[in-house]
């Protein structure tokens, strides 16, 4: 397996979506290729940092205002009860 082949499979590897034989090949490549090891490790960390971040959390006061505005508009619409 070349480094280019490794990169092509990286997303499926990180998502645990590979068949066992491809996974084994990738892990063998990681044993000796330091560059791919680093790319794999830092890409995984990138995902974890974004996933665990509190970027763009909806503040409680804004959340309340938005919900109130949405529900006021919905009630004014008088929901359609037809199955369309």
């Amino acid at each position: 397996m070349t480094c280019k082949d490794f990169l092509k499979e990286l997303t499926d590897y990180l998502d645990d979506a590979l068949d066992q034989s491809t996974r084994t090949e990738l892990e063998e490549h990681l044993q000796w290729c330091h560059n791919c090891y680093v790319i794999c490790n830092t890409t995984k960390k990138t995902i974890e940092i974004y996933r665990d971040s509190t970027l763009y959390e909806l503040p409680d006061d804004l959340r309340g205002r938005l919900r109130s505005a949405i529900m006021t508009k919905c009630r004014a619409k008088k929901p359609s009860t037809s199955g369309a």
Partner: protein, 210 residues
């Protein structure tokens, strides 16, 4: 080095189906429960795509209102959340197009070639690199970094890796093929990694995790 853990386990379909059916039948309270359940997710997705707080607020309102109006047409062949995300992404992209009329904004665009995502700098990071920064600094770094990605890449990244949708759900929500989702996701992940290098790489003489 294991796989990324799955997040945001889906709510039991039965409970959600009851709520959606009630809302379809005109129960506004049931719809309000759906709003409570997903407003944070819709806001996060909208802000990631539009990169503008006011636009994200508008998208939350418009997306839920549109979902409410179109509930009678929702056939429940997909999860309510996937259907809602599709509406929210479309609203967010419309906002983005209005703000950037000079630039074509589309999820279908193939942005440059694969070469733009090939790793250039290969440096290991410190262990727990995010701990080098306080919360505000880290948010600033992550916000600026993701803002630099093309909209089609950051949309796929936020749905898959931040919101935890499956590849199939992401493809359905964005009306893309599964290979297109995977291709954009790989490139988004690699580009973010490359851009974060300058903040997180291990300093000389410092700790290294290998």
């Amino acid at each position: 080095m294991g796989a990324i853990q799955k997040v945001n386990e889906p709510v039991p379909m039965t409970e959600e189906t009851v709520l959606v059916n009630a809302a379809k039948a005109g129960d506004v309270g049931a719809f309000e429960e759906l709003v409570r359940r997903y407003d944070r997710n819709v806001f996060r997705i909208a802000q990631h795509i539009t990169q503008n707080r006011e636009d994200a607020e508008d998208v939350v309102q418009d997306a839920f209102l549109k979902a409410y109006e179109n509930l009678p047409q929702f056939q429940m062949q997909s999860k309510f959340y996937t259907w809602l995300v599709r509406i929210a992404v479309n609203e967010a992209l419309m906002k983005l197009r209005r703000r950037r009329p000079e630039r074509m904004v589309s999820l279908d665009e193939e942005v440059r070639t694969e070469e733009d995502s090939m790793p250039r700098e290969i440096a290991d990071w410190s262990p727990n690199p995010e701990q080098q920064y306080n919360q505000a600094e880290l948010k600033d770094i992550l916000g600026k970094t993701i803002q630099g990605l093309p909209p089609s890449f950051r949309t796929v990244f936020v749905l898959r890796d931040v919101e935890g949708l499956s590849t199939e759900e992401t493809a359905e929500a964005l009306n893309l093929s599964i290979p297109a989702v995977k291709s954009r996701l790989l490139r988004a992940r690699l580009q973010l990694r490359e851009r974060l290098n300058k903040y997180f790489k291990a300093r000389k003489g410092g700790d290294s995790n290998k």
